[in-house]
Amino acid sequence: MTILIDENTKVIVQGITGRDGSFHAKGMRDYGTKIVGGVTPSKGGQDLEGIPVFNTVRDAVDQTGANASVIYVPPLFAVDAIYEAVDAGLDVVVCITEGIPVLDMLSVYHYIQHKKVVLIGGNCPGIISPGKCKIGIMPGNIHKEGRVGVISRSGTLTYEVVNSLTQAGLGQSTVIGIGGDPVKGINYIELLKRFQADEFTDTIVLLGEIGGSDEEAAAAYIKQYITKPVYSFIAGKTAPEGKRMGHAGAIIAGGKGLAVDKIRILEEAGVHVLDRPDIMGNVIRGGQ
């Protein structure tokens, strides 16, 4: 089974007529996701290979009954797109867009705190419930239905791990890329909580990286509340201090956010931390 999304989730694509939006709209539909519409202002009334395009999210929701959206719009428009999706009452909003200014995300973060919406991202690969629903940019074919829940700050690193799980015969209940930006929507803890409560998830994989203190916060939560086995890999052991490693979040400042500290704290919380991601599947299979 799955958390957050399932085979009944109806998805609209914000920015559907753009290069990435149209490519992935088709990709998601091909995977089996119910892509019920798209939004591009001024293109309302057109369609993308049969997917109707609307001028506003409100119109799209009114006419399709969508309850989730995925955002592929340029960074300076992404926050407006998020607000529009929240305002339209969607349950899950996935923001793929990379490069959103952090001050914009601060406002978003506080604005959605007491709203029902779950925001995933920005700067994230999205969420997939293998065999049921894929909202995002991940390659669907490497996934497989199963009982491992995966949470990750990284995109391609997640694919690596999912690939390893699938090759080891371990399917996934839900895989969520929460995004690499320092301020984002949903974070580890809320997802750990959901996986712990999900009767269809047996094992949790938490993928982290250097920078920030989200992994440390997650470790504290795991120690106190998570009884299911948790496996982890933290990228960036070899990264030099003070250098920005692509992700805005992946920077080590003043001795904080080091991989070695994160690994230690996670291990103290009872997490199995691996020193390479590509063997995750075999290790978990061995451990079960």
Partner: protein
């Protein structure tokens, strides 16, 4: 993006924050002319993107234009923490009664903008934070509400006692906050903010140093700020070139060049290379969009490094499409002489298409990371031998 003190002071001036008079110079002669214009004792300050300039001899007082010339010459000859000093700031020297610290940054743990102010100014604030945290007052700004008058009062009354200083401080807090939000900063700092001695003139507040760091993601909203980027900073040359081509590149010490998509996988790739006994020569993330030209550019940049003995391309396609990468690799081979072995590992979006493209050009690609890393480490060692 970091900018220099003299640039940050220009910004402060535009926003109405009182700073000392002065200008940037690239030569001792320019420095002398500025000192003549100012007509007062000046301070000559190295403009480099590292802390600890003072201790390294990068900040000196000069009492007249001639002394300014000779001091400028000395400082322009310095190398501070490995960085050669190419620019100096020549500014009027002022008398100081007391020094304070004022900074604005983000506290990511609570997702708020935070003001840090302290009576312990003029010194390393991280040192103060570590040893005397009670000396630092933190005021958190709710992003939806913005800086409120009571917060300015809270800080001003904590630092100052004279009415004039309190009002000036509140005004400076407001303006520094406008710099921070208006230009998408991740840091805006005055250290020290000083009060000048009470004498014949009125005692006043002045920003003696200025530090501003921009959020890289915010630069898209302020294209005019790109002009402030320091192209002189030698060690970052390749990084700048990479950035201009949509790549994130950081040079390291090893001998295996890396081309990877995604920061997380790029770091993991470096970690695995190390785990398998190799040493990565760089971090290179080709980013999300998959333009074949990026691969060409990536090769150009990493091959400049003469220590490189092998290149490892590790791609797990998502938004990046493997066929674009394959085409980029072929293009790179066409355009330049790739004198070291290249190991390719491809998986994900359009993987099959990519293999077809590579095979038709007699290249092959691994699917397994383990096999690929084993191979590249082996080849690099062979190259060194």
């Amino acid at each position: 993006m970091k900018i220099h003190e003299y640039q940050a002071k220009d910004i402060f001036e535009q926003y109405g924050i009182p700073v000392t008079k002065g200008r940037m110079a690239r030569t001792a002669q320019e420095a002398k002319i500025i000192a003549e214009e100012l007509g007062s004792t000046v301070v000559v300050k190295a403009q480099v993107h590292v802390g600890g300039r003072g201790k390294a001899g990068g900040v000196k007082i000069a009492h007249n234009p001639d002394e300014t010339y000779s001091i400028a010459q000395t400082i322009l000859g310095l190398e501070i923490k490995g960085l050669p000093v190419k620019k100096i700031l020549v500014a009027e020297a002022v008398e100081i009664a007391k020094e304070f610290y004022v900074g604005i940054t983000l506290d990511l743990s609570v997702k708020k903008i935070v003001f840090l102010v302290s009576k312990a100014g003029g010194v390393d604030i991280e040192e103060v934070a570590a040893t005397q945290p009670e000396q630092i007052i933190k005021v958190y700004i709710d992003p939806l509400l913005g800086l409120q008058p009571f917060q300015k009062r809270q800080m001003a009354y904590a630092l100052f006692s004279k009415k004039d200083h309190i009002h000036q401080a509140m005004d400076i807090f407001e303006k520094l906050y406008r710099v921070f939000c208006g230009l998408d900063c991740s840091l805006a700092e005055i250290n020290p903010l000083v009060i000048t001695p009470t004498g014949t003139e009125t005692s006043t507040l002045l920003a003696l140093d200025a530090k501003v760091v921009f959020d890289d993601n915010g630069l898209i909203r302020h294209p005019e700020l790109e002009a402030l980027r320091d192209m002189d900073v030698i060690e970052e040359e390749d990084e700048v070139e990479a950035r201009n081509n949509g790549l994130t590149f950081i040079k390291l010490d090893g001998e295996i060049g890396c081309i990877v998509n995604g920061a997380g996988l790029a770091m993991a790739t470096m970690d695995i290379i190390k785990l398998f006994g190799g040493e990565p020569a760089n971090f290179l993330d080709v980013g999300g969009s998959s333009n074949p030209n990026k691969i060409v550019k990536a090769f150009q940049i990493i091959l400049k490094n003469k220590k490189i003995k092998a290149v490892f391309i590790n791609i797990f396609g998502g938004i990046t499409r493997c066929d674009d990468i394959a085409n980029g690799l072929l293009e790179a081979h066409k355009q330049m002489d790739i004198h070291v072995p290249v190991v390719i590992r491809l998986a994900g979006t359009n993987e099959e298409k990519a293999r077809t493209i590579l095979n038709s050009a007699h290249f092959s690609a691994y699917a397994s990371m383990e096999e690929a890393v084993t191979q590249v480490v082996e080849l690099a060692k062979r190259g060194q031998a």
